[in-house]
Assembly symmetry: C2
Homo-oligomer: 334 residues x 2
């Protein structure tokens, strides 16, 4: 049994708690941290149900210091407090200071070397000093559009291009996702919101960078672009959306190497979109894979966090990535 501290009790954090409290993972929920005034200080059981411990939710990880400093055996923090690394990195370093491995849904942590190389270096140093590992994972980034493709390249002697497509019907997803894709907004508003970077999915560039690193490609350029998908006629599915308003978004990212586009990711999150994942590898041999019905977003992220919490203590200390959990891939270059 690995002891787990949950840091962040938002939607994903609570779902992780639920998964652990079902009792099938070799994980034991021992503490939770959330600074939100409606959560901090309340018994975990009140928030997470009768299977949770009675101990109160801590407002700050520092309050848990007596619980972990000098404790035997490994314990893991599951951190679900944000998508951007600068907002999460202090927490990750605090975890390391308490001797806790950390697994996080922070999208930028999936390949922090891309946007935050200096911070990634510091995290690696701090984790190494405290003999713990830090890992970012989730379904996207972390699996559907990167690790899965890398796993498939194990059968290749060379890879020329990786093309991943993920498409999902936003009507089946939680409100938070529906908001971040601007569903229901009129044309001018969604375009303005995209320009102000208020909308869109964090992590496509991280997937591109992870794929590039995994395949040993020195990417010259990683680009992302977001564009709205508009309703051609009135849409009357899980949400009513008038013709001309946004059903959601189509996002793309590209990685360029030797002036050639070697990585292409396409992510559609929109009301009424087909739900599937696909990976197309142009290589020797080519590989064409499709997941019918797709890999469901939230539940897969929750399970990847829990499964990674079971696996992380076997990894070497430091800042780790999904490449460490999928060491077999194409090592044959382009």
């Amino acid at each position: 049994m690995t002891e787990v501290v949950l840091i962040g009790l938002g939607g994903i954090g609570r779902s992780v708690a639920e998964a652990i409290l079902q009792g099938t993972f070799p994980l034991k929920l021992v503490a939770a941290v959330d600074s939100h005034p409606e959560l901090a200080g309340r018994p975990m059981r009140d928030i997470l149900g009768p299977a949770a411990p009675r101990t109160p939710v801590a407002a700050d990880l520092a309050q848990l210091r007596p619980m972990f400093v000098g404790a035997p055996g490994p314990a893991v923090a599951i951190v679900t407090t944000g998508s951007r690394l600068p907002g999460v990195s202090e927490t990750l370093m605090q975890c390391a200071g308490l001797g806790l491995h950390a697994v996080s849904s922070c999208e930028e942590l999936v390949f922090p070397q891309h946007r935050h190389p200096a911070l990634a270096g510091r995290l690696n140093d701090v984790a190494g000093q405290h003999n713990v590992a830090i890992l970012g994972t989730g379904i996207n980034p972390g699996f559907a559009m990167d690790a899965l493709a890398l796993c498939m390249t194990s059968v290749c002697s060379r890879v020329q291009q990786v093309h991943c497509v993920r498409s999902l019907d936003a009507g089946r997803r939680r409100e938070q996702l529906q908001k971040k894709i601007g569903a229901g907004l009129p044309q001018a508003e969604i375009i303005a919101a995209i320009e102000r970077q208020q909308l869109g999915h964090v992590g496509l560039a991280e997937s591109v960078a992870l794929l590039g690193a995994g395949l040993g490609w020195n990417l010259e350029n990683v680009e992302e672009s977001f564009e709205p998908v508009f309703a051609q006629s009135d849409y009357a599915g899980a949400m009513a959306i008038a013709a001309g308003h946004a059903l959601g978004m189509h996002m793309t990212a590209r990685g360029v190497c030797g002036k050639r586009k070697v990585i292409e990711l396409e992510l559609t999150m929109a009301f009424g979109a087909e739900t599937f994942d696909a990976v197309y590898i142009s290589g020797t041999p080519p590989v064409s894979l499709r997941v019918d019905g797709g890999l469901p977003g939230d539940v897969s992220t929750v399970n990847l966090l829990a499964n990674a919490a079971c696996a992380i203590s076997a990894l070497p200390p430091g800042l780790r990535t999904m490449l460490d959990l999928f060491p077999l891939r194409c090592h044959g270059g382009r």
Copy 2:
């Protein structure tokens, strides 16, 4: 660059040589061993082409002792001499004695604990003593019907059943495969040959056992069965096969746990069969994956051997399995 010794210069061994000699893998072919009188003693270059070294093929690994004992850096043997472990295990122990990691296409080595637990224990001990790793891999067993499915369970909190289907048109494969599936044989002959265990694919039971071990299931029973696929009418594809004669074989394997069938593998290798791979996971969430056109057999096996040779020195010493190269999977039980 990792130095490689090829042991076995049959079809797969020569294809591995070709892949390495193309120069894209960080692997350097330094020696080859084959006891066949038409091969031993001849310059490697005569057999493997102008990119190979001039040094002669050794008749026995022992001849290469001066090359490896006390050498710096890791070297890897790629062993492609047989499907059954008892015929390969001496070679694997010799490799360990020379300080060579070993990667092998030996089907039974993919999960040797299943059919040969005592021998697996000895291999683990010998590898550990010499600080090297031993690994069995290939497309099937080793990837398409086991490791790939395990990788997909990373998104699951629980798995109730794993069902893998692999189907391939034997007309596109080499003669050796066509022979082992009894293609073209009349009904009485193929049935007798299956009963005498002269035909069929080695490794389905190993895939079942690997899946069971990966998911933490204590399998009570692993069963295999082989049945011919007969031509309903005269078949005039890559080989002419008369009506009533065998097009090939349909093989199944099952793993039972708690009296329930929890693993089911179906492998069809027959002339005219559709070529695809599929993985169906009954779990939370369910996963349905399909590889259109399939993962091609020989080339994928060759590439998995080469890619594993690049990855093996990072594994802990001892007898390893593909579970070590895919440490992330469902840890949540059934």
